[in-house]
């Protein structure tokens, strides 16, 4: 018999209460249960970072966190990154302008990692950004434009205060 628990969590500002198997990981919960397919699975062993979401404001790997561990928490996925008015988050806008994505598969996790980190490090240098995204693997871009986009986004965020 599967082990089922009831959890309540807020995802991108909306509260959800669901019964979940305890073995369901958070990424599968977001994708399958809530239909938020923007978060991707690249390795399911916590290395590639494609599954990165924010949990109570911190970037975490949702493939190695169980959904039941997110009970009572606030989750932000790529679908919730943009402002409520529909405009793009500065990280998203910068990725677009600076060609920071190619296939787009690592991109949601990459942007969440950067957006979360920029809150702590608003005035980064390129080398620091590379460290910050060293847990996000991209096979397409060579990282170059991602770093440029992150620097641009940091500047916009500083201006916006």
């Amino acid at each position: 018999m599967p082990d089922i628990r009831k959890i309540t969590l807020t995802v991108n500002g909306t509260e959800h209460t669901r019964d979940v198997e305890t073995r369901t990981h958070l990424a599968d919960f977001l994708r399958r249960e809530l239909g938020l397919v923007g978060t991707h699975l690249g390795c399911e062993h916590g290395v590639c970072g494609a599954c990165t979401v924010m949990l109570d404001g911190e970037a975490i790997r949702s493939c190695i966190l169980l959904a039941v561990q997110a009970d009572g928490c606030e989750v932000t996925t790529v679908e919730g990154l943009a402002s409520r008015g529909g405009g793009l988050h500065p990280v998203q806008q910068a990725f677009w302008e600076k060609h920071g994505l190619q296939c787009g598969f690592c991109t949601p996790g990459m942007m969440i990692s950067i957006a979360a980190w920029l809150k702590e490090s608003p005035n980064p240098r390129a080398a620091e950004i590379r460290e910050a995204i060293s847990g996000n693997i991209c096979r397409c871009t060579g990282y170059q434009n991602i770093v440029t986009a992150a620097l641009d986004a940091a500047e916009i965020l500083r201006r916006e205060g």
Binding site: C103, A126, R139
Partner: protein, 776 residues
């Protein structure tokens, strides 16, 4: 001509969706009543299957079906998968049964498929499928497998050498006999996996009443999947629709057609419900094709100036357990010889050797990096032995700018001479030599040396056959709204193809790229297509769009000329209108013209014109167009730990006309990073019994942002005379010489120890051993 968007750094039309969680990759597809599959895979590298017990698996609640090959029925139990790339040298059955019949030949080979309500239940049940194996001897070492007394990798074979592929022209024997200098060297190269961040996946859905089979698959070739799936299943292609949704990276392995694609499609028809199968990363390590070792023994004959007069040698290539892509990898690991150099004679033979490991097929660069490595190491060797400058020896050997079109002396299998259409290899070399990385290096090296640090610089040049045939095609259609639709067979895996095609079309029709939408990668959207591989679609699909848009432009002008009663030469297309030069009162719109040609009941189509403001063009290709370039790599080698850091990297790149420089630079940077991974990090390891040892990202290392320096890129544009855009392919040039440049730099850093580095990836242990062996 109004070239406004081509050549500009236009933002991608694909991005808004991908940036906001709107990507639709194969795992994002959900259909009513959909089930999920998982595969039971062989844990043995080579074994007979004695029995398969599926009874416990079938009993798990939520399991719908369990398939082994015999459950496919008697017709399929005897039917190996089609060989999409047959070759006269391939004389034996080289593909698998999907799943395996009675023999497994690599760890990871499909043996059974479980279909259940969801993946979690399917995996529960898969662990209850009991398979009895009788182990057979396994062979994984390439050179051991090539020996006549080696155990057979596959019981069907007479020997493990699947094919012996020659590549020769001129008279090598004579040239070597009279040469003033002959040098020999051996190389061991390893490539690793494509490792797109999205693994593979298939969703198959069969609507029985209409007999329409729809297959979504993360593929680089929806049309070949359709062709061979239809062939295998005995169906009409017209009732078989294959869609490549958003694909999260291809890099070569996704052009292979896999047992899982056939099995899932078959099973979906059997059970009458859609089936989804998504590969997880552990499977990807063992079930998706990769490249592994090629070993070479090479000889080069040169004169006193370092001019190479002849090249000969022999190689073994690890084919893996099956050859699902025929001999293509062998061809691409051989036919790039002699590279950008004018070498009068050549004789190289490459033996494809079967082993009990995952099948191999081209990975980004596709064998061209292997050839470039051999050529660049040999050039460096000649320079070193003759005490000449590495750059100057390259210059001496280059095909010169005034020698194009240049016939190398080689002939393709169909007898056509290999001809380089255009290029300027010296210009790329000169750009590299003028880069700050190069000009300031000596000062940095000396300063580092004073601090006890070792810096090295490597140079590597290459050329690349891009835009190979036979064709791609496109329909360009102005819709009644005035917006333009492109439909093409070409598929994208992140290259930004839609954007580039929109730019080309926008320039021809006088609209904005944002007014152009693209349907691609769907066999229902366009009749014929080939594949997105080998840096070919900008040439093939781009040229098709150009040609179709030109036809649409001509049609618009002809119709407008009649409507406005103005001669054609006076008309211009801009901002979605057709206007008259010098008379702003007379104009019409593309939308109006499209509506007229879309027809109304009873009203004849305007005389001399066919219905629809649209045209279809297939750009037919008879020869590839050659890109090229030179890379410079600067590394620091820690002589105590053997660690190598790449400090600086420069690329001089020639891909003909730059359609969108931002996208080209992105391809180059991404390609260089594949090369850095190749040179320093990536190794797919098997033990002697054929057990894979590196099946996660802790054991198999991919480059992360901290391993990569800023990559400086400059361009040379030698237009291709072979297509209307003058464009050459750009997807793989970043990778092709990268390992050679980095290895050359490592050797340069250790120059005072006179080490010679002839293999990659280069591990810290290897460097320490090389240094130690020179010290003793």
């Amino acid at each position: 001509m109004g070239v406004r968007h081509v050549g500009e750094r236009v933002k991608r039309v694909e991005d808004p969706r991908l940036l906001t969680g709107g990507g639709r990759f194969v795992d994002d597809i959900r259909l009513p009543n959909m089930t999920e599959a998982t595969f039971v895979r062989s844990s043995e590298a080579h074994a007979c299957i004695k029995s398969i017990d599926i009874s416990e698996a079938l009993a798990v609640p939520g399991v719908i079906a369990v398939f082994t090959l015999k459950d496919f029925g008697p017709e399929f139990a005897q039917k190996r998968l089609p060989q999409p790339a047959p070759h006269p040298l391939l004389k034996f059955p080289s593909t698998q049964y999907p799943p395996a019949r009675d023999e497994v030949c690599y760890v990871g080979e499909c043996v059974a498929m479980v279909v259940a309500q969801n993946r979690y239940i399917a995996e529960d049940a898969a662990s209850l499928v009991w398979i009895e194996y009788e182990s057979l001897p396994a062979v994984t070492d390439l050179r051991a497998a090539a020996q006549p007394e080696a155990p057979l990798a596959n019981k069907q074979l007479l020997g493990n050498i699947a094919a012996s592929v020659p590549w020769r022209y001129g008279d090598c024997t004579e040239a070597f006999a009279v040469a003033t200098h002959v040098f020999k060297e051996s190389y061991v190269q390893h490539r690793g996996g494509g490792h797109s961040m999205e693994c593979r996946g298939v969703v198959a859905c069969h609507d029985a009443p209409t007999d329409l089979l729809t297959v979504w698959t993360s593929t680089q070739t929806p049309y070949m999947v359709r062709r061979f799936l239809a062939q295998y299943l005995g169906r009409e292609e017209s009732r078989t629709r294959v869609i490549a949704p958003d694909v999260g990276g291809g890099f070569g392995p996704k052009v292979v057609i896999y047992p899982e694609e056939y099995a899932v499609a078959f099973a979906a028809m059997e059970i009458g419900r859609p089936i989804k199968w998504i590969e997880d990363r552990r499977e990807n390590f063992v079930a998706t094709t990769q490249q592994r070792d090629i070993v070479w023994e090479m000889e080069v004959a040169a004169d006193g100036n370092g001019k190479i007069v002849a090249l000969r040698g022999h190689g073994y290539l690890d084919g893996g357990a099956y050859l699902p892509y025929g001999l293509v990898l062998a061809m691409t690991s051989l036919m790039p010889f002699p590279g950008p150099y004018a070498i009068p004679s050549m004789d190289v033979v490459l033996d494809v050797v079967l082993t009990n490991a995952t099948p191999t097929s081209p990975v980004r660069g596709a064998g061209r990096p292997n050839v470039a490595f051999v050529l660049e190491r040999l050039i460096d060797l000649v320079a070193r032995r003759l005490d000449r400058d590495r750059a100057e020896v390259r210059r001496v050997n280059f095909v010169k700018k005034n020698e194009f079109p240049y016939a190398t002396g080689a002939k393709l299998p169909n007898g056509v001479p290999v001809t380089y259409d255009s290029g300027d290899y010296e210009a790329c070399l000169d750009k590299a030599l003028r880069s700050e990385i190069y000009t300031d290096f000596e000062a940095r090296r000396v300063m580092a040396r004073e601090q006890g640090r070792y810096l090295g610089l490597g140079i590597a040049s290459y050329n690349e056959d891009t835009g190979m045939g036979p064709f791609e095609g496109a329909t360009v259609r102005v819709q009644s709204s005035g917006k333009v639709l492109i439909q093409t067979g070409a598929a994208s895996q992140g290259q930004g193809l839609d954007t580039v095609l929109a730019q080309i079309c926008a320039d021809r029709l006088g609209v904005e790229p944002s007014d152009v939408s693209v349907e691609s990668g769907d066999t229902a959207a366009f009749p014929l297509g080939i594949a997105t591989v080998a840096s070919r679609v900008a040439v093939a699909a781009g040229s098709s769009v150009y040609e179709a848009a030109e036809l649409v432009r001509a049609k618009a002008i002809a119709l407008a000329s009649g409507l406005l009663e103005v001669s054609e030469e006076k008309l211009k297309l801009e901002n979605g209108t057709v206007g008259v030069v010098g008379d702003s009162n007379k104009h019409t719109t593309l939308a109006e013209l499209a509506r007229r040609l879309a027809g109304s009941i009873g009203i004849p189509t305007p005389a001399g014109l066919s219905p629809g403001l649209e045209a279809t063009a297939y750009h037919n290709i008879t020869r590839p167009t050659y890109a090229g370039g030179t890379h410079i790599a600067e590394v620091e080698v820690d002589t105590d730990t053997g660690q190598v850091k790449v400090l600086n990297y420069f690329v001089a790149h020639d891909c003909g006309r730059l359609l969108n420089p931002m996208l080209v630079d992105g391809q180059i940077a991404g390609g260089v990073v594949h090369g850095i991974g190749n040179a320093l990090l990536e190794r797919m390891i098997y033990d002697d019994s054929g057990q894979p040892q590196t099946t996660n990202y802790g054991e198999y290392l991919l480059p992360t942002a901290t391993e990569i320096p800023t990559i400086h890129i400059e361009h040379v544009e030698t237009l291709s005379p072979l297509n209307p855009l003058g464009v050459k392919g750009a997807g793989e040039g970043g990778t092709i010489p990268a390992a050679a440049a980095i290895v050359s730099a490592i050797e340069n850093a250790l120059a005072d120890r006179e080490v010679r580095v002839c293999s990659y990836p280069v591990s810290p242990e290897m460097i320490v051993q090389l240094i130690d062996s020179r010290n003793s």
